[in-house]
Amino acid sequence: MTEQYFSGLRIELFLTMLILALLVGKVLAIKQNPIGTLTLISVFLISSIGISFMQNESGYLFGTMFRTNSTILFEKAILLAGTFIVFMLGFEWMKKQKHFLEFCMLLLSTLLGMCFMISSGNFLMFFLGLELATIPLAALASFDLDEKKSSEAGMKLILSSAFASAILLFGISFIYGTTGSVSFDTIASAIDGNNVQKFGFICILTGFAFKISAVPFHFWTADVYEGAPVAITSYLSVVSKGAAIFVLMPVLYHAFGRMSSTYIPALILLSTVTIITGNLFALRQKSMKRFLAFSTVTQAGYLLLGITGNNTEAGASVVYFMLIYIFSNLGAFTVVSILQNRTGRDDIGVYKGLYKTNPTLSMVLLLALFSLAGIPPAAGFFGKLFLLSSAAGAGYYVAVIIASVNMVVSLYYYLNIVKMMFVDEPEITIEKLKPAVTEQISLFICCCGILVIGFIPAIYEYIYNLSAAI
């Protein structure tokens, strides 16, 4: 009995141990040692990824509070890998901070919250995980204490996320009132899709749409992404969004499974509007971080479209896309982070003629942008292919055609940056930048991820077999 708890909660226990170790280190006022701390965190994160592939029995713990199965563990491994890369790419900035240990603790506790959130089998657990994942992020977004932009980002993040969770709670209370339970399983058997439940569902979906920044609830995204430190921006755009998408699937398929005639049109509408609006806004951005923010909004649209497919295919394609998306987006953010740290600027002009001075960095950014746009040699193409074929498999051809047309539109702005790097004359002179070791690790992992994942069909098959139990 006890072993079951230990094995089900192993990743959460590992993270809690790590957070407590950092806390003890802080309280004992041991002299700050960034490299030692980073090593400790990396060892813990990598070993957590390792133990997430260990033999696992699926089932519930603590009544229906905590669900665990191999898909959920694989999703956790993706989030852990993303956090590891974020630590690598942001380390040059982090180690200069006076409150380095607090930064790590807050970042890891949001990760802990996300782990609890994606294995929740109950709206109570889900809500607590969600808040643990959100509240520290607001503190992290405003971590540059002297920077006005950064505190503005933190403020916008906490206001919009508190607003979103209030709407979510209002929806949960209606669902509780009509079904008499907050656990997903009981809701699934008691729900009949009457109007009160539809209203409650719409409120819950609104809360989710805020978290994954789907249009029309995306207003905070670009502001927060621009103001927050690059490490946090990349974390928000990849890990935080990934966790929200991962938990949306069980909520829809399990708890609201009987209401699929309600949620599928809503999701298709949401995804179409998100893809179109995200594209149009991305066209006119002058700052690289804002540009990537709107690119993230568009990707969220494709993910929502993928979710509408049949359960197993949709689950597999979404998890597979997130796996690729982590490497492509973090690859782009590593280059942005290196350039912003060295030049202090993040407008697109900095990237003009980058190939002449920094060929390696521009090749990595080229690869990452190709993957985000979905151009074949890069893995992003396969990710989008599976998402769209999942939606097409369920027969939503119009939405798939709109999404494909928008993929062509998005080529314009992705390739515009590639053109600037390779063809245009430099605006300012940047000397040859030498990335630090941690940044080189991050660049290397991202490049490998982008190039390799698309060419190993076994990875998709593995995910597909797992997703039978989503």
């Binding site: 808040e131 607001a138 503190a139 403020m155 206001l159 209002f170 209370s173 209606f174 009132g177 008499g180």
Partner: protein, 108 residues
């Protein structure tokens, strides 16, 4: 007559209507007001609407999950406000105002 029965003398619809009104006032406040602290107050109002609804449903169904949920909502709301107010203090130090219209450095 015990407390549960007193509560049940008011029909459930009235609780639903009251909390929907509270929620609507909260949403309007968030969208219309420009002062960060008043926005936080409005969000608290929305949370209280959800809390009231959960408690009412829980009493009418004579079960506990709803009321347990309420305690967690209170704790989380307090944590949210603590972080939010800390950020507001920081902003006030930087720009001597908490009007969110002043926060227009980041615009599309």
């Amino acid at each position: 007559m015990d407390a549960t029965q007193i509560i049940k003398t008011i029909p459930i619809e009235h609780y639903v209507i009251l909390s929907t009104i509270l929620f609507a006032i909260g949403v309007t406040g968030v969208l219309m007001r420009r002062n960060a602290i008043i926005i936080f107050m409005s969000i608290e109002l929305m949370l209280n609407a959800a809390t009231l609804l959960l408690t009412a449903f829980s009493t009418y169904r004579s079960d506990t999950p709803g009321q347990v949920f309420v305690f967690f909502i209170m704790v989380v709301a307090a944590a949210e406000v603590a972080v939010g107010l800390a950020i507001i203090v920081m902003i006030y130090r930087n720009i001597k105002s908490i009007d969110i219209n002043v926060l227009n450095k980041l615009k599309w």
